[in-house]
């Protein structure tokens, strides 16, 4: 059963040949494939890590830009609001001033016109009075004395009967 012979040597040689063939056919390509895969995985992981960091940075940047834009928008709106307020105030001020000026001018104009009208009217009245008096009396008085007389008369009229229409 246990018969040792030259088979032993042959088996050793067989096995050494098998090791050589397997190393050449299987082991080396497989080791290369494993190393390649390891390198590939490491590279993929590294790339992923790098991209993740880049994405993070980009996100941060975008967030900053967004915040900046929001602040700017806020500032612009505030500025616009302030400007509008100011403009409104100015316009109102101007309008008020204009209004006051116009009112004043109109009042003065009215007063002047009335003065003129009154003066004209008074002269007219004096002349009419003199003409009427001359016709009534039939005689011509001294013109200056006449005027003084009528004027005096009208003044006294003013005081007594035309109380609220001041000259």
């Amino acid at each position: 059963m246990v018969d040792l012979n030259w088979t032993l040597i042959a088996q050793i040689i067989n096995f050494v040949i098998l090791v050589a063939i397997l190393t050449w056919v299987g082991y080396k390509p497989l080791m290369k494939a494993l190393a390649d895969r390891q390198a590939h995985i490491a590279e993929s992981l590294e790339t992923a890590e790098r991209e993740k960091v880049a994405a993070e940075e980009l996100k941060l940047e975008y967030q900053q830009q967004l915040a900046q834009a929001r602040n700017q928008a806020q500032a612009i709106v505030e500025k616009a609001t302030k400007l509008a307020e100011q403009t409104k105030e100015e316009i109102l001020q101007e309008a008020r001033t204009e209004h006051a000026r116009l009112l004043k001018a109109a009042t003065e104009e009215i007063a002047r016109e009335r003065e003129l009208a009154l003066t004209a009217m008074r002269n007219e009245v004096v002349n009419l009075s003199i003409a009427a008096a001359g016709k009534v009396l039939g005689q011509q008085l001294d013109e200056a004395a006449n005027a003084a007389l009528v004027s005096n008369f009208i003044n006294s009229l003013d005081e007594q009967k035309l109380g609220d229409l001041k000259c």
């Binding site: 040792l4 012979n5 030259w6 042959a10 088996q11 050793i12 056919v25 497989l30």
Partner: protein
């Protein structure tokens, strides 16, 4: 499994070449095993892909598992021994399983095969030991811790290849014997014992190949470490 097969239990056909005796059947079976292993390795490593599948995946599973063992047992220096140990495992696995196919016998059921492999491993152990530690330290370590221990140390060294080879040969040979005996004892229409024993033999084949490889690995690791 009928007795009319090519072999009788435990008797290896011998042939003489150049006046030297060879167990020719064992050699044939060895070459068949070698062919299977080579074809398997060849098929598994053609068109190697980044994402392994099929045979490549299977081979990678075995190789990476063994490489992990080698790495942890021998450290980085063990890489040089990796092809030998991986080949050893694959060859023993296929050899052990070959005997389960009707009409074939395991090359490992012949002591010539197992003792040859064991002697090869042990020779390698001693060579690496001498290279690694230097001849002086190598000889000195037989006389550790005291000079009389040389007897025990020598027996230990001699026991290594013997246990290694007889363990494997005994297991596989017994498996084959029992397959034949079961085939004779149990009628063919009760196949359960045969199937159970065949399944167990498949398991034994893996375990024995693994044990032989692991022990070779640990012996080699011992010769490579600087302490001891």
């Amino acid at each position: 499994m009928e007795q009319g097969g090519a072999h009788e239990i435990g008797v290896h056909k011998a042939a003489e070449y150049f006046g030297l005796t060879f167990n020719i059947e064992t050699l044939y079976m060895t070459w068949i095993s070698m062919a299977i292993v080579i074809v398997f390795a060849f098929v598994a490593t053609r068109r190697l892909k980044m994402v392994p599948g099929g045979w490549q995946n299977f081979l990678e599973l075995i190789v990476t598992a063994l490489l992990d063992q080698i790495e942890s047992a021998m450290g980085p220096k063990g890489k040089k021994m990796a092809p030998l140990l991986i080949t050893l495992f694959l060859f023993l696995l296929v050899s052990n399983w070959l005997g389960l196919v009707p009409g074939f016998t395991s090359p490992t059921s012949d002591l010539n095969t197992t003792l040859g492999l064991a002697l090869l491993v042990i020779a390698l152990v001693h060579i690496t030991s001498i290279v690694n530690k230097g001849p002086g330290a190598y000889i000195k370590h037989y006389f550790q811790p005291y000079i009389p221990f040389v007897v025990i140390n020598l027996i230990e060294e001699a026991a290594k290849p013997i246990t290694l080879s007889f363990r494997l040969m005994g297991n596989i040979f017994a498996g084959e014997v029992l397959i034949v005996i079961l085939g004779k004892l149990v009628p063919m229409w009760i196949p359960i014992p045969n199937i159970v024993w065949l399944a167990f033999s498949v398991f034994v084949g893996v375990v024995q190949a693994f044990i032989f490889t692991m022990l070779s690995m640990s012996y080699l690791a011992g010769s490579m470490s600087d302490d001891h």
